[in-house]
């Protein structure tokens, strides 16, 4: 790796961090406005024009709050919990391809931090680690409500990881690669995976809701039963980290969904409108973000429309409906591939 690539990658990492943090920040504003719209209210209006400075005000408030660590809590693990939540939330963006390559002055800029050939598995690896934030924080709080929330978070995440992984296998069978870049490249133009795998998309989307602890799967922080779930004892910026990590996770899962099923940075007629490759790459980044914002909106739409599940319903949905459905999907996909190749009989 030469020096210029190193600079490229460093700048890209900084930009991706900044963009994901800002998007997550304004997702909180979007969530308030959308919730207000769904409930026929106005939402935040006072901080800045149309309440646009509200996220900054919220952040400032969280920083100023008193920092409380419970007396009986395990201090090291109490601090480790939100740190892990934030770390794992920020790690996934490394393998997401944000756009086609840019060419400037005979120099090629790749809009992806790391194109590893196990990109998709890397995403799953980080997702499977994400549960430690809630689990460790909830246990270290030394509070029964926190512990209940932590246990719920762990069992929910493990259950839905299975269906999530199985739903992706049909996509891997279609593309024959685990690299996210390859998967996106194969969906050039309007040849998106959603047309071939609508069921896999539905399963993946439901699992993404469950993995990000969003309603209707927000039982780990179910306030009517568990006060605040695993973050009951948290205050100040540690609470802020937990809440913020959820919004970053939402941004990242929206990006993964768009990349896997909705063509990522591809858009219809991209090869026939006759623009230069740089313009198409930049337009592609724009389209990718439009898709991501749409999915963030969809996450919020679901949250303010569907009531929370009961715990047994959640487990039933995961184990008895989603997992068998995704296995059926794998079998059908395999059969169709074999018939197309003509090697079934």
């Amino acid at each position: 790796m030469d020096f210029i690539t190193l600079i490229d990658k460093s700048v890209l990492i900084v930009i991706i961090f900044a963009v994901s943090l800002v998007t997550a920040m304004y997702s909180t504003y979007g969530e308030r406005k959308i919730a207000a719209f769904f409930q026929d209210r106005l939402g935040p209006t006072n901080a800045g024009p149309w309440g646009l400075l509200q996220p900054l005000a919220d952040g400032g408030k969280l920083f100023m709050k008193e920092e409380i660590i419970p007396d009986q809590a395990n201090k090291a693990l109490f601090i480790l919990g939100p740190s892990i939540a934030m770390l794992t939330a920020c790690m996934t963006s490394a393998v997401i391809p944000w756009g086609k390559d840019l060419y400037f002055f005979d120099h090629n800029i790749v809009l992806q931090v790391a194109d590893v050939n196990i990109g998709l598995l890397y995403v799953f690896g980080v997702v499977s680690l994400g549960v430690y934030g809630a689990l460790i924080g909830g246990w270290a709080s030394n509070n029964k409500f926190s512990l209940m929330g932590a246990i719920r978070a762990a069992s929910q995440n493990i259950s839905y990881e299975l269906a999530m992984g199985l739903s992706i296998i049909s996509i891997i069978m279609l593309t024959g690669s685990l690299s996210l870049r390859d998967i996106v490249e194969q969906q050039a133009g309007f040849n998106w995976n959603i047309w071939y795998q609508p069921l896999a998309f539905l399963i993946f989307f439901v699992c993404a809701l469950a993995e990000t602890n969003r309603a209707p799967f927000d039982l780990p922080e179910c306030e009517t039963e568990l006060v605040g779930g695993y973050h009951t004892e948290y205050s100040s910026m540690k609470l802020g980290f937990y809440l913020f990590a959820e919004y970053i996770n939402m941004f990242i899962s929206a990006a993964v969904i768009s990349a896997l099923f909705f063509g990522g940075y591809n858009f219809p007629f991209m090869n026939s409108i006759g623009l230069s490759s740089n313009a198409i790459a930049l337009l592609g980044v724009g389209f990718f973000f439009i898709k991501i914002l749409f999915f963030i909106f969809l996450f919020m739409w679901v949250r303010w429309t569907i009531p929370r599940f009961r715990y047994d319903q959640l487990m039933k949905l995961g184990w008895e409906i989603l997992i068998p459905l995704s296995i059926v999907n794998i079998i059908i996909t395999g059969l169709v591939i074999l018939i197309k190749e003509g090697s079934l009989f």
Partner: protein, 174 residues
Amino acid sequence: MLSISQGLFYFLSFISVLFALMVILAKNPVHSVIYLIVTFFCISGHYFMLNAQFLGIVNIIVYAGAIMVLFLFVIMFLNLNHETEPKTPILAKIAGAICGGMLLLLVVAIFNDTQLIYAQNPNNQIGLIKNLGLVLFKDYLFPFEIVSILFLAAMVGAVLLAKKDDKTKQSDII
């Protein structure tokens, strides 16, 4: 002079041995589990250095991500404290010390007869997911399927055990 990969190898090995020791030396079982997770990460690092990316990432997903969560889960339910810790009789302590000492003797004897070599992959493409899949599903298909059946049997057995408990309870009520 060490090359970068050799330096990384020794660094990773040092960290993995250190954290493996911390697992057994830590007083708090939850800390032990967290040290064990770090150890798994180091082992995955070794896999990555041998270009066995699939093995490395699966090690993280399965061991660090799933099995250790279940470990933590169980330990959190057990509520292990110093007060509830059972007292070990002096005889058991002596027996433990003797067994440990003999194991140490064995390890020292083994190390005495081996030469230390720097671990190297004979073929650094073999660990890539494509090659691994071809090997598993072509050359070793039969053992692979046998292992799957073994896993399936274990899963069915676990479900059966859990169900059985439920049934007896119901019949007790009736």
